[in-house]
Amino acid sequence: MKKILLSLSLIIMFVAYILYQRLGELDNARMVAPGSGIMSNQNGNGMGGVGKQMMGSYKDGTYTGSIADAYYGNVQVQATIQGGKITDVQFLDYPQDRQTSQEINAQAMPYLKTEAIQVQSANVDIISGATQTSRAFKESLLSALNQAQG
């Protein structure tokens, strides 16, 4: 079961990546109205690097496409675009049982970037962060007033 889930996770990441690339080529494809569309991408292999700028030019909506997957056979995928970004990818027709595909949809958001936090030495105007919840509201208000009048 775990192996299937892992494979399915990899597939959805792959599919999302492919969709991300192919949507950059929608200029050449026939695009029907959102919600009913079928992305027919006849161009096949030319996956040029599609920057995020291209995503921004696509209308919000839901797009459906077919992508052949080597392991699982044909998979039909639905991508939702909001604000120029893919916000959801759903498997519509899946060779395995549909329950599994629901779990997969909940996993893997490949667009999040991680990094180790690093101390910055730059000058800033304002600091954002958790502050001590203070009962002494009046005290801090007075000192802020002094700041304002200074």
């Binding site: 958001m109 667009y111 730059a122 509201f137 007033l145």
Partner: protein
Amino acid sequence: MPITIEVVDQGIVGEMLDEVFKYFTYVDRKFSTYKKSSEISQINDSRLKISDSSQDMQLIFKLAQQTKEETRGFFDIYHNGKYDPSGIVKGWAILEAAVILHRKGFKNFYVEAGGDVQVSGLNSQGKKWRIGIKNPFNSSEIVKVVEADSQGVATSGTYLRGQHIYNPKTGQEITDIVSLTVIGPNIYEADRFATAAFAMGKNGIEFIEKLPGFEGYMIDCKGTATMTSEFEKYVI
């Protein structure tokens, strides 16, 4: 709660800032759960019905309910038998304060309260406002610098002594993440969604990713940060 206001435009005088600080006093008197005389405490002690409360109080309850629905229940002002709307009042009040300044004709300023900020226009050097995100592991350091000119920046965090945020659905304390900063179109929006997203733990950043027009920077308990796909457009 410490409040800081800076107005760059000419023509700002002390009395105008007094009006803004007085507004925060009004908000505190009404919504502070620490004050027995506050309107929210009267509601919590059943001395006052929500339906009999002031216009602003009823507004906050409406906004809280709306936010609860928009976040599938992860934003909830009802904890342990009491209402605590601070997770939405702060952002709302800061935005109202910014509106006071806008109405007076000021365009270049910021209003910051309790680590959340609404910016407008440019700083005294004519550049976008630079906001540093506090290091949750050392509050005298910053770990990220972003710039903004009209947005709201809100950070939810639990790294100070005595701070706890709970998942309202499970009652479990959130411990896998320690800080979540949200940049949104204004501070009211950024604050309410930062509050809700934090209650989702590590999944919170995915919630922000799915929200059009919002970006986020989450720091987990091990010092690893996760950011939404367009967050870097704010980073300098």
